[in-house]
């Protein structure tokens, strides 16, 4: 198993270089003129007639692509991710202050999604074609067809405009002022956790309340997806010879399902659960925009509208990094569950 993990770790840098290369190629294709725009903070700088040429030279925008890529990558590794027009601070700083909000949302969403989906998927499979199964499947199919921004807007309309139960944002008005107060200690930058650290149960509960609709929105699609995978995986496993062997041994049906079938059925589900976390994370772009939460999802959406290239690139890199690391964790946990993989 160690060899397997080492091999996966060795591929990691190549994947990351590949990702930066794709992203850089996209931004390079803008050409020197457009790229220059993202370096200039005020129109004053372009006043003198030869300023443009000079600045293009200065920032090395006329150099061949490999040179520029090398320089960009070097800066990236140094922590110089460019200046963010949206955040009015360096991109690295802007991302560091926003990422915890996104992580908080994804972490809260993932546990109910995975547990509920597995439970319902297994239930659906063992009641195959009965009413319960049909019902779960139809709901899942509708969930799978429901775009997250439509659901988000709908929930916002229902619970905010109609019922006035909870509004957009991450905390209620007033609490945000307490949180930006110098006396407020930021440890994790995740609202619910920091609220507990600061001993403000009211803010903690308020933060949770504001998380409910975003979580519902973000998780509905993945919940449906995961359920379908669990169901079909479970159905396939229930047809296997070793299930018949277990029954022939006199194993009670409950144990057959919970011990012999479920563990095997969960092998593909683990992979997909990993994908779910990743999917949840990229779903944050939409959900944070709809519910006005200042994570990096909303950040990249704002940056895209302002053509703030360095912010977009920075956020895209973070998303990719999370995805790649997430995949790695999934592969390793896969090896833990399935003894057959450890040998390879």
């Amino acid at each position: 198993m160690t060899a397997y993990i080492i091999r996966r770790l060795l591929i990691l840098p190549f994947i990351l270089i590949g990702v930066t290369l794709i992203i850089f190629a996209m931004i390079w294709s803008l050409g020197p003129d457009k790229l220059l725009g993202s370096y200039i903070k005020s129109p004053e700088a372009l006043k003198s007639p030869d300023a443009k040429e000079r600045l293009i030279k200065k920032y090395g925008l006329d150099q061949p692509m490999p040179m520029m890529y090398g320089k960009w990558l070097w800066n990236l590794l140094q922590g110089d991710w460019g200046y963010s027009l949206v955040g009015k601070v360096p991109v690295s700083e802007a991302i560091a202050s926003r990422f915890p909000y996104t992580l908080e949302l994804a972490l809260y969403a993932v546990i109910p999604v995975v547990l509920v989906a597995i439970w319902l998927g297994v239930t659906s499979a063992i009641h195959q074609n009965k009413f319960l199964d049909q019902f779960i499947r139809v709901v899942a199919l509708i969930g799978w067809s429901l775009p997250d921004f439509v659901l988000g807007l709908f929930l916002l309309w229902l619970f905010y405009a109609r019922l006035d139960w909870v509004g957009p944002g991450m905390v209620s008005l007033g609490f945000d002022r307490i949180m930006s107060d110098p006396n407020w200690t930021n440890v994790t930058r995740m609202i619910t956790i920091d609220a507990l650290i600061n001993g403000r149960l009211d803010i903690f509960l308020d933060g949770l309340k504001h998380l409910i609709l975003p979580i519902a929105t973000i998780s509905f699609l993945w919940w449906a997806y995961l359920l379908r995978i669990t169901r079909s995986s479970m159905l396939e496993v229930l047809r296997k010879d070793y299930i018949r062997t277990a029954r022939a041994k006199g194993v009670p049906e409950k144990t057959v399902i919970n011990k012999h079938a479920r563990r095997n059925a969960l092998i593909p589900v683990v992979t997909v659960s990993g994908l779910t976390i990743i999917g949840l994370l990229s779903g944050t772009v939409i959900v944070e925009t709809v519910f006005v939460r200042s994570g990096i999802g909303r950040f990249i959406a704002q940056a895209a509208q302002l053509l703030d290239y360095w912010s977009i690139i920075g956020a895209a890199l973070i998303y990719s990094l999370v995805l790649v690391l997430g995949n790695l964790i999934v592969d390793v946990s896969y090896a833990v569950i399935d003894p057959r993989i450890r040998l390879r």
């Binding site: 591929i11 190549f14 994947i15 990351l16 590949g18 990702v19 290369l21 794709i22 992203i23 996209m26 931004i27 294709s29 803008l30 195959q128 074609n129 199919l141 509708i142 799978w144 067809s145 429901l146 775009p147 921004f149 439509v150 807007l153 709908f154 916002l156 309309w157 905010y160 405009a161 109609r162 509004g167 957009p168 079909s232 159905l235 396939e236 047809r239 990743i278 999917g279 994370l281 990229s282 772009v285 939409i286 925009t289 709809v290 006005v292 990249i300 959406a301 940056a303 895209a304 509208q305 053509l307 290239y309 977009i312 690139i313 956020a315 895209a316 990719s320 995805l323 790649v324 995949n327």
Partner: protein
Amino acid sequence: MAERKRKSDLRKMMKKFWTNPTAVMGAILLFFFIGVAIFAPQIAGVNEFGDNYQIPRVSWSSSPQPPDAEHPFGVIGGRDVFYGVIWGTRTAFRLGLIVGLSATFIGVVVGSIAAYFGGIIDEILMRITDIFLSIPFLVAAMVLTTIMGKGLNNVMIALIAFGWMSSARLIRGNILQAREEQYVLAAKALGQKDGLIIIKHILPNTIFPVVVQLTMRMGNYVITAAALSFLGVGAEPGYADWGTILSYARNWMTMLDQAWFSIVFPGIAMVLFVLAWNLVGDALRDIFDPRMRT
């Protein structure tokens, strides 16, 4: 013999499809949307001032107008929602089919090459596939459309550029598996060329899962495109596209009570459209994959 068998299998599959209630529901929905797309000019009229895919302005006031007799789905941003939803059906089909077919085509080519040549070429192509899969789809499409600029064509290019990988992986895996099958070994023993074997024997038997995947992803492409429009980096404002209408609602986020119709009508259209493809895809998968049959 094999040819005839395949044909009778196909007939059997068609029979299974039409006796499956969810499949029939999906097909009916799909035909409904096709009808709406074809008769869009008759249903919603045309834009007398220019491009039909531009929703005509009916008002210069920015405040939303709730549905009435003249504008059954209301007006938002000065645009008639009904017109946008109807003509948006055409946009959805155009986008879904172009993106779906192109991405699948690229995927099939890449996957077949990888499986056919194997070795180092396979390794390189699959690592490239991995790299493309390492950027979240929506984020990657956002970066590309931001850089290329707004417009439906750019959206389609971005979706194709980052949408081909799953078909590549699928077809590669299927070909590698099918290569070991008896009929392929037999063809090899008869001295048929590898390329011919892939086209004649392997592809027809491995393409079904790809077709299923294409159907299931069709809705996904439309949703992602709409999401891009919603985020303001997709189609131009005023374009007859469901996501564009929804994006108008963003300005009324805190007063959604006044703009509900700009969410509900395009939202319903989108959900039903995606549901139709998913129902059909789901049924096709059950039919093609006998292990999944219930």
